[in-house]
């Protein structure tokens, strides 16, 4: 074996050794970085964390005690038309806070179509407006109401 061949062989061994050390570092390093992300190595187990997500969605149209749970709207004829057309852009709370006549709801729908990108409601418009005036009717308040819902408490002086 010439000196040159001997050197080449030595260099090759050294190269392999270094490659081995490098890959060990890479694997160990990778494992350590992964450990930081996920100390439980949950990917290698049955991952319970991500499986828990689904319940949020199955209840979408759950109705309890006459209330559509997701939106808080009262159960009634036309409910789903309201849910599907009136709660995409704004909360149902904006609907239920308001008390309007059919005429004013229709004006409001027209305003939303002209300025707020609301789509044509077609036959649903009448169903929606009927639902609203039936379930959220205008109440007469007069020029000043009595104080209501007073929570009485003892005031220590």
């Amino acid at each position: 074996m010439t000196k040159e061949e001997e050197f080449k062989k030595f260099a090759k061994k050294l190269y392999h050794l270094m490659a081995l050390i490098f890959s060990i570092f890479m694997v160990a390093g990778g494992a350590m970085i992964y450990y930081n992300y996920d100390p439980n190595f949950s990917v290698f187990k049955n991952n319970t964390e991500t499986l828990v997500i689904t319940p949020e969605e199955i209840d979408e149209n759950l109705i309890e005690n006459g209330i559509h749970v997701r939106t808080g709207l009262v159960e009634g004829s036309g409910l789903m038309a309201v849910v599907n057309n009136c709660t995409n852009c704004h909360s149902a709370k904006l609907v239920t806070q308001n008390r309007m006549s059919a005429e004013r709801w229709n004006e409001t729908i027209k305003w939303m179509q002209e300025t707020q990108n609301l789509w044509d409601l077609g036959d649903n418009q009448e169903i929606i407006v009927n639902y609203l005036v039936t379930n959220y009717p205008v109440t007469e308040k007069g020029r000043r109401e009595n104080l209501t819902n007073i929570e009485w408490y003892d005031l220590e002086n």
Binding site: L94, N98, M100, V138, G142, R143, R144, L147, N157
Partner: protein, 406 residues
């Protein structure tokens, strides 16, 4: 664990890994950011609000105080109402935030960084009363459309910033200037990027007042995101919608600003009084400027039961838009008789003023304490609802609380 929490936590630890250090306040920061991104429904934590605040609407967020939460002389963030027309902007980068002054009536269009604004112009601090134009809307009959605010859409915080006037003058105001209009970073509810949720403004005379600020601090700290971080126009005494949040552009207009919610019926009342429920044409509606005289009893909370023979201390605040409150009275007999009570001078113009009284009751029973403020022009709060208007603005009827003497 919810998926978004999981994602947040892992994102946080990976960030920490990358920079090799714990991110100070990282969990807070990412929490707020993440929650806002999904409009998560725990507003109290997200906006650091008192649990007794009332959520009127969660998309967009509209939250009001109750009277007793407003007892502090300077309203803390925890009790400040939130009124949004659109979606809260996400991922705000204050370092790269700029404000542009443009419009038909600007001499030279100019763009400033926040640092420019802070270093170039003198800073001022004022306590400024901001009340939503629709505060009290829930009482109108027939009902008016919109968020049904009761009494809590008002606050008086301390705002620090520079005068709008100084910046406008730096860019140059042409002689034909009429109005300024703000533009902001919030997003339209429909998600349409071409639509602005709100772009209101004020006539030059209001824009050039000493107290009209471009504010970057509220109560001595960076303005909370929900109240307009990093830059908010603050115009005390006018409907709070003039005080645009997340402002990044102000146009000096040669006409009345025609941005979103300046036209039609928004923030307008009939130019001439109308009967309740009467239809009013758009062209007969006039823009609201100064808010009317008003007051609120913040202590005690309504519903107090006291022993016969003890006197009751009450206190609260009063304000009068552009004016001052010159007289404060209360009544325990539904307005049959009124007693004067002391009202403090405002700390500065447009700050609310504080009143207090000690009340003795003639006998046991149910009482209501009604408070009535009068402004420097002799205009007092009505006991009944003021003039009906289609959008239910400017209800400055007397505030009252219920008391039982046993």
């Amino acid at each position: 664990m919810k998926r978004r929490d999981f994602v947040r936590k892992t994102t946080l630890s990976s960030l920490a890994t990358l920079i090799g250090a714990e991110i100070v306040f990282g969990s807070n920061l990412l929490e707020g950011y993440n929650l806002l991104a999904v409009q998560d429904p725990d507003p109290f934590k997200m906006f650091n609000k008192n649990k007794e605040m009332i959520v009127l609407n969660d998309k967009p967020w509209n939250i009001e105080a109750q009277a007793h939460l407003l007892d502090n002389k300077i309203t803390p963030n925890t009790a400040m109402f939130i009124r949004n027309n659109g979606l809260v902007p996400e991922g705000i980068d204050a370092k790269n935030w700029t404000l542009t002054i443009d419009g038909e009536s600007v001499v030279t269009q100019k763009t400033y960084t926040l640092d420019d604004l802070k270093s170039k112009f003198e800073q001022h601090t004022y306590q400024l009363t901001l009340e939503c134009g629709g505060n009290g809307r829930n009482e109108f009959n027939p009902p008016a459309k919109g968020n049904q605010w009761t009494v809590g859409a008002v606050h008086c915080a301390t705002w620090t910033g520079i005068r709008l006037r100084d910046v406008l003058e730096d860019a140059g105001i042409k002689n034909n200037a009429v109005y300024i209009g703000y533009h902001s970073a919030d997003l339209h509810l429909s998600g349409d990027p071409k639509k602005e949720p709100i772009s209101r403004g004020a006539p030059m005379i209001k824009s050039l007042q000493d107290e009209t600020l471009l504010a970057f601090k509220m109560n001595g700290k960076d303005i909370p995101l929900i109240h307009g971080y990093p830059l908010r126009l603050v115009a005390g005494g006018w409907p709070a919608s003039v005080s645009g949040k997340w402002v990044n552009r102000i146009s000096i207009r040669n006409k009345v600003h025609d941005g979103t919610k300046m036209t039609g019926t928004a923030y307008r009342v009939p130019c001439e009084p109308v009967a309740p429920g009467e239809k009013v044409k758009d062209e007969d509606m006039c823009i609201i400027e100064s808010m009317p005289v008003k007051s609120i009893i913040t202590y005690p909370k309504s519903g107090a039961i006291i022993q016969d023979g003890t006197s009751l201390k009450i206190r609260g605040h009063a304000w009068a838009g552009e004016l001052e409150v010159s007289k404060m009275e209360y009544s325990i007999d539904f307005g049959a008789t009124w007693k004067d009570c002391p009202i403090e001078k405002p700390v500065n113009r447009l700050a609310w003023q504080h009143f207090s009284a000690s009340i003795d009751f003639p006998k046991k029973g149910y009482y209501e304490i009604w408070a009535r403020a009068t402004d420097t022009q002799g205009i007092a709060q009505p006991m009944l609802l003021p003039g009906w208007n289609p959008k239910g603005y400017l209800n400055n009827a007397c505030h009252r609380i219920a008391i039982k003497v046993t």
